[in-house]
Structures are given as C-alpha cells and as structure tokens.
C-alpha cells in the first residue's frame, strides 16, 4: 500500500535524454538510495517522484494512488502528494522561525492551531531541537538546519519521504551521527524513503537497498552488501570502489578484468604476487597501503605498518575473485 512504483519513466531536456525507460519499485517501509555520478538523472527522478518535474512519459504510483500517468493525462501536483522532502541546501524559509517552518505543512492542511503546536513540539522533540524553536534558521549550525528540514518533512506524517543528499553539506562526524538518526527515525515511523546521492558512504549509511544509476537508467539494484560484493560490471565496481580490479590473466582466467575484495588480499611472505608499496595511511585503527603489482594498483589493509618502497608478497583468497563483464 505504501510502496512506490515507477514504470517506463522517460524524460529529456531538449536533445538530452535524462531518463530512459526507468522502472523502479520501492517496498513499503524500506529506505532506497538512488546512487550515481552527477548527470545520471537521479535528481530528476526524485523531482519527478515529488512532482517538481513531470516525465515525458511513464507512470508513478505511490501511497496507493496514481501520481502520474502520462497516457491517462494524470498529474498530481506536488502539493497534493503529501510527501516529505529534505533538501540538500535545507530550503528553510529564512523569514520564519524554526517552529514556523515546521508548522507550515500543517497549516497547509488547515489543522487546528492547538494540534499544530502539539505536533511541532513532538517533531522538534524527535530531532532534539525543542529549545531552538523560536530561532530563525540563520542562527543554527548546518546539522541543526538539516534537523529542522527533517522535522518539517516529518511534521505532516508523510508515509513517503524523499531526501536529496541530506548529509552532503555536513562535516564527517555529524554526517554519521545524523545518518544513524535518520535511519532510526524512518525505521521507527515505518516510512518508505528515497534518497539521492553521489556519495557511496552516504548510501551505505542510510539504505536498505541501493539503485545504482548510470546515463539515465537504473544500472543495478540490491542491498548494500550484495551490491558492493557483486557489482555487475567494471563500471559499477569502479564507481562503487568495491575492491581491487586486476586482469583475469593473473589468476589464469579468461575474463579481462576480475574484482578482488579488499580484505581478500593479505600481505604474506608465501604469497604469489610481488608488489611494491607506494603509499601508506593509518585509517580507522588499521593501515591502508597502495601496492603496485605488475603495473596494477591494489589497495590492501594491514595490521602492521608498511613503508613506501618496501617490496612485499601478496596472497589472494581466490574465493573472493569475481569475473566482471565490460
């Protein structure tokens, strides 16, 4: 009932095809991220779901109703779709206070004043901003602004929430914190969510499922772990940075390129591959080194420090070697 279905979505601006025959189903209560490089059409798709753009052809069903059906000439304007939308640049109205911003969608539904006050208190409490209710947005930090934006989107109790790179304007610590919070809130409320981002970390942080987009098409769909473990082709593996890409010949395979999982390569004196360390970093309680093997670069995790210039032997767990097409 609360699922979202897109079928045959087609959109072009002038000569450029932005979306080509896109089909997508989002199960009720799941969080799906449209992930892709800039220009892949993901934002346009989100705007079409919201009703801020209209597709040239195709259908959009959501909340048990038909949002768009170009053949039947149906187009429900954004104001009638009752969605939540969280903007990348927050989109907070600078002339209204935090509470007034949050109250706006409720006023649009002609709710009673007392109910509005109660609901605003409730959502601001949920995003821990109750004591900022009477401030203007300009007085808030970036993270706080995005919380207000989320509170505003939640206020109208939408069953469908849209996010446009909600974390990209925030610094690293805050992103993670807010990411978990968004996840918790949307789970608790059983919301169906669609998020758009070009940042795989943000996608991993939030999603039950990721739809990878390329050139106006859905390229691959799956839960984060499946997607990152089994990208369908070289492009997907490269974009996702899913692991090390090596020629199949190194493993006696016919395929030109194989994917080797990050943790499948270990430094081991008995290893069969010889490489040269070119750089080493310390990240998240382990070392991360770039190792040059027969003209190919591998990223390898180690517990001990390697120094640039060291020669090392690598062992690869062949169970995690996957052939890639394209």
């Amino acid at each position: 009932m609360n699922s979202l279905n897109l079928h045959g979505i087609q959109k072009s601006f002038g000569q450029t095809d932005v979306l080509v025959d896109v089909d997508l189903t989002v199960e009720a209560g799941t969080f799906v991220t449209l992930l892709g490089p800039s220009g892949c059409g993901k934002t346009t798709l989100l705007r079409i779901i919201a009703g801020l753009d209209a597709p040239d052809s195709g259908t959009v069903h959501g909340r048990g109703m038909t949002f768009v059906d170009t053949q039947a000439g149906i187009f429900i304007p954004p104001q009638a779709r009752e969605l939540g939308y969280v903007f990348q640049d927050y989109g907070l109205w600078p002339h209204l206070t935090v509470a007034e911003n949050v109250a706006f969608p409720l006023q649009m539904r002609a709710m009673a004043k007392a109910d509005i006050r109660e609901r605003v208190t409730e959502v601001l409490g949920a995003v821990q901003l109750l004591n900022h209710a009477d401030k203007r947005p300009e007085k808030l930090s970036g993270g706080q602004k995005q919380r207000v934006s989320i509170a505003r989107a939640l206020a109208g109790k939408p069953s469908l929430m849209l996010f446009d790179e909600p974390l990209s304007n925030l610094d690293a610590n805050l992103r993670e914190e807010l990411g978990y919070e968004i996840r918790r809130l949307t789970r608790e409320l059983g919301l169906t969510c669609i998020n758009v981002t070009h940042d795989r970390r943000e996608a991993q942080l939030l999603s039950d499922s990721i739809a990878l987009m390329k050139d106006g098409r859905i390229h691959q769909v799956g839960p984060p772990d499946t997607l990152f473990q089994n990208p369908i082709d070289v492009w997907a593996a490269t974009f996702l940075d899913a692991g090390n890409l090596l020629p199949g010949a190194l493993f006696g395979l016919d395929t030109p390129t194989v994917l080797v999982g990050r943790s499948a390569a270990t430094v081991d004196p008995t290893g069969t591959l010889h490489g040269l360390v070119t750089a080493t970093l310390y990240i998240d309680d382990r070392y991360e080194s770039l190792i040059q093997v027969e003209g190919h670069q591998l990223k390898v995790f180690t517990a001990t420090r390697l120094n640039p210039g060291d020669s090392v032997c690598l062992r690869i767990d062949t169970r995690s070697v996957r052939s890639l097409s394209g």
């Binding site: 304007p77 954004p78 104001q79 903007f87 640049d89 109205w93 002339h95 706006f104 505003r152 989107a153």
Partner: protein, 558 residues
C-alpha cells in the same frame, strides 16, 4: 534550470494574468503608436495612406543628427554615472550598517528632484549673474550650456540607480572572493579588476542599461539646457512634432518607433553582455564584508561621499530652496528679496496647490502599490515559470523606459478613446494612473526579478511539497522575503510618480492638476519662484513619506 510545473493549473493562469496585464498596460499604447506610424490617419479610424510618412520622416536630415546626439549623450551619461557610482559602491560595501543607510537615504534625494527642476536649479547656480556669481563672483555658464554640462547634470541625477544596484550586488558577493584573491597574491588593484569588477558587472550593465534608456527618454534636461546651444536629441525632436504648430502626431509616432528600436538594441546588447558574465554566487558567499577599521579609509570614504552628496544633492536643493524664498526673480540673492510670498501663494485658500499635492500623492501611492503588486506577479512569472514567451514578457517590461512620456500619452489616448469601449478610464484620473503604471512598471520588475533570481528554488519547492500552491508560495514565502525589495521599488515609483510631468499635462482630465502640471503652469505663465516653492514642498513631502514608509517597512521586516 527547469522548474516548470507543466501540469499545474495555476501556473498557466499566472502566466496568462501577467501577460494580459502587461499587454493592457504597456502593449496596447505601444501597438497604437506603431500603428499610428504606419497609418497616419488611424486617429480618425482610417487606414488610408499606409507607410506614407515613414520615408519622409526617416530621411529627414535632422533625424540622423538627433539620433547621433541621443546615442552620444546616453553613452556619456551612462559612463559618467557608472564611474561615479562604482567607487561609491565599493566604499559602501565596506561601511557600517548605520552609516551606509544614511548615505543610501541621501542618494535617494536626486530621484526626488525632477530633472527639469534640477536643470533649472543648475542654471540658476551657474549662469551669468547666477547664485554662484552673486556669492563668489564667477560663473560657469559656458560649461553648463555645453555637451559636458548636460552630461554632468544628467549623470548626477541618474547615478544613484547604478549606485544602488552595484552596492547591493557587492554586498551579496561579499568580501570572500576578494579575500581569496588577496591570499592568492593579488594586490588590491588586480583584485578589483580581476575579481570584483567581473562579478559586479551584470548588476552594473543592467542598471547601466536603465540609465542609458532613461537618458534617451529624458526630455526636461535636453529641452532646458540643450536648446541653449542648439543640441537636439530624439526626444526633443519628437516633442517638437507633438506640440509645435502644425502638430504632427503621426510623424512623431514614426520617431517613437525609432526610439523603440534603439531601446530594443540596447536591451539585446545588455542581454548579451550579461549572458557572458552572469555567474551564480555560492550560497555561502553571503558573508558580507566587515566594516573597515582603517581610520584613513573611513575618513576618505566620508570625504568622497560628502563631496558627491554636496554636488549631487545639496547644491541643487539649495538652489531650489533659495528660489522658493525669493520675492522676485530679478531681486537676486538679497536679504530684502527674502519672502514667504511664494509659500503663501501655494497655501493660499482656494489655491489649487493643495489639491494638486493630494492628487499627486494619492496617484503616486496607488502607482507604487500597484506596480509593486504587478511587478511581483511578473517577476514570479519571468523567473519561476519560464517558457517560450519569457523574452517577450521581459522586453515588454522594459519597453516603457525607452519611450517619451508624450508617446505613452498619445498611445493611451488612441487606445482608450475608441468609441467602442463600454467603459473607459479616459477622462478620469484612472488614465493618469494607467500612464504612471506604464511608465513605472520597469523599476519594480527589474528589481524584483534580480532579487528573485537570488533566492534558491528549494524555498519554493519545500513549500510545494509541504502542500502549498503557487498563490500560497507567493503569499507566504516569496512575498515576505522580497517585501524589502518591493518596498524599495515602491519608493522609487512613488518618488518618480509625484513629479511626472509630460503625461500628466496631456492626460489630466479637465479640471485636475497634479504637482507637476501646477509647477509647469507656474513656469510657463506664472511665477517661476512659486513653481520652485511647490517643488521644494513636494520634494520634502515625498522624502517624509519615503522616510516614514521605510521606517514602517524596517519595523515589519526586521
């Protein structure tokens, strides 16, 4: 960016309303003038002798001279105004808020001085036996009655337009980009030429275009100063055809079409320049420049602003004031010649002056409110609902700036005096209001579109998604955010409306006087000094209204 909600029912309705409003207010009189140029007898509802007047008028040797003079004058006035305004704007961006507001108010005053009054004021100051000679023993009549003189007088009247636009733009750009350039090793001079100037250029060019077109359209100053040394421009040529015996309205319409063409070319030129330099300033670039702390800079800033204010504001105002309190013109600046008689004449019981002031004030207020309202609607349509006809709408909105008021007046008569209208505003005060709307609409539309372009679209979209329709978005989101700009535009419209002369003279219904027609009559057949007294009063009254309005606006919008 594409944000047309092509299935929304309100969007086309808004589009249609904007277009119809502009066509009624601006389009109809313009079409009437163009038809008149083609069909010289259309004022008698006859289509005979089409095109018969085009060739004789266009090949008139006086015309090419007048076109050349108009273009030369407009180019020099624009250049001088820009060169005056730019340094002031740069200094303004580094001022404290309070100080900046003071000078802003100060530079609004040239707007309040009607150009013809300003020209007469300068004549009284600089001519032989003028106020300066009476006080200091020298005169500058030769300089005043020359191309240089007329350029300076007009530039001093118009530079505030560029100053306001450029200083606002510099404030939005902030000091961040300049700071980055300085960190990259640029000296202040190259920072200015490589960073600040290109960024402020679109604002400079857009406001420069308005100054250019206003100069082409300006009648009072060339009439008063230019006539003295045989300097004829397009508008004085048009005006001669309109009012000198034998009246040749159709011939004048032909010249108006040339003016429309010139305006169109200037408009296209501006669009091309802006297209090259238009950039999106980062949303986080809003950090405005810190007020400068250097004492030397602050002192020289005050010095420069004071100097410009004395020349552009204090001198003409002093001249008008002196005339207003002189008993006779031939008496000169003499203690014995001081008198309140002119003021008494203005305030005398049964004097038309009070009625004229009331008429002008109510017309100006109505014009300010309506142009702000219509400007808002058109700006929203232009910026947020762009479509194929946008360029036409945009051009319609700037067209009136290029046309002499006389032509607008004739166009309005031709349009609204047709026998088949069931109701017509003609011969009521509404026709004056219509004329003012037509002449003033470009200001709010320009200012509001510029401001609206700077508001991120996510503000609208957030509201749509929250359940608002276009009307609610305009009412609840954009209107409050743009209200300060709308108010500023309204003040400009108010100030210019209170002094509008040419259409008022032509269109006033019988028995109605406005401030400007009252002043004109005093100049023509009564006493110039009574006219000056009335002008002074109107300038002060407009200043009070604008001051009060700004206070009110300031209280309502932070």
């Amino acid at each position: 960016m594409y944000h047309r909600l092509n299935k929304s029912r309100l969007a086309p309705a808004l589009w249609f309303t904007s277009l119809v409003t502009l066509v009624i207010i601006v389009g109809l009189p313009m079409i009437a003038i163009i038809l008149f140029a083609v069909f010289p007898k259309i004022n008698e509802l006859s289509l005979t002798a089409p095109f018969s007047l085009l060739i004789p008028n266009l090949t008139d040797p006086r015309l090419s001279g007048a076109i050349a003079n108009s273009l030369m004058l407009s180019a020099s006035v624009t250049a001088v105004a820009a060169l005056t305004a730019l340094p002031l704007s740069l200094l303004r961006a580094r001022m404290s808020k309070r100080q900046g507001q003071f000078w802003d108010v100060c530079f609004l005053i040239p707007f309040l001085i009607p150009p013809y009054i300003g020209s007469l004021a300068w004549m009284q100051l600089l001519q032989r036996n003028g106020f300066i000679e009476q006080l200091f023993g020298f005169h500058a009549g030769a300089m005043l009655y020359s191309f240089t003189g007329i350029t300076l007088v007009m530039a001093l009247n118009l530079f505030p337009l560029i100053y306001f636009s450029a200083s606002r733009s510099l404030m939005v750009i902030g000091s961040r980009y300049g700071d980055i350039a300085r960190v990259c090793g640029a000296n202040p001079l190259s920072t200015f030429f490589r960073i600040d100037l290109p960024l402020v250029l679109p604002a400079l060019v857009s406001s420069g275009l308005i100054v250019f077109i206003l100069t082409i359209e300006e009648f009072g100053t060339p009439e008063i100063l230019g006539r003295r040394f045989g300097f004829e421009v397009m508008v004085t040529a048009v005006h001669d055809k309109f009012t000198n015996w034998p009246v040749d309205l159709a011939g004048a319409s032909v010249l108006c079409c040339v003016l429309i063409l010139l305006a169109f070319l200037a408009y296209r030129g501006q669009q091309m320049i802006v297209a090259v330099y238009q950039t999106q300033v980062d949303a986080n670039g809003f950090a405005t420049a810190e007020p400068s702390t250097s004492v030397l800079l602050r002192l020289s800033t005050v010095g420069v602003f004071a100097l410009v204010a004395i020349i552009a504001v204090a001198l003409p105002l002093a001249s008008v004031t002196a005339s207003a309190f002189m008993d006779t013109m031939s008496g000169g600046l003499d203690r014995d010649n001081f008198s309140l008689r002119n003021m008494q004449t203005v305030f005398a019981p049964g004097s038309d002056a009070i009625n004229a002031i009331l008429t002008s004030l109510s017309l100006a207020i109505a014009a300010a409110l309506l142009t702000a309202l219509i400007g808002f609607l058109v700006a929203f349509t232009l910026v947020r609902l762009p479509s194929r006809g946008t360029a036409m709408l945009d051009f319609l909105s700037i067209l009136p700036n290029s046309i002499p008021g006389m032509a607008v007046a004739v166009g309005l008569i031709l349009t609204w005096n047709l026998p088949f209208w069931p109701v017509t505003p003609y011969n009521t005060l509404l026709i004056l209001l219509l004329a003012y709307l037509c002449l003033m609409l470009p200001y709010p539309i320009r200012m509001l579109t510029t401001a609206l372009r700077q508001l991120p679209t996510s503000l609208d979209h957030a509201a749509y998604v929250a359940g608002a329709n276009e009307i609610t978005v305009i009412r609840r989101i954009l209107a409050p955010l743009l209200a300060p700009v709308a108010f500023a535009a309204g003040f400009i419209v108010f100030a210019i409306s209170t002094r509008e002369l040419v259409t008022s003279l032509m269109l006033s219904p019988p028995g109605v006087e406005t401030v400007a027609t009252f002043v004109f009559r005093q100049f023509d057949q009564g006493s110039m000094n009574v006219g000056m007294a009335m002008s002074l009063l109107t300038i002060l009254l407009s200043a009070v209204v604008i001051g009060a309005g700004q206070r009110l606006a300031g209280r309502t919008f932070r």
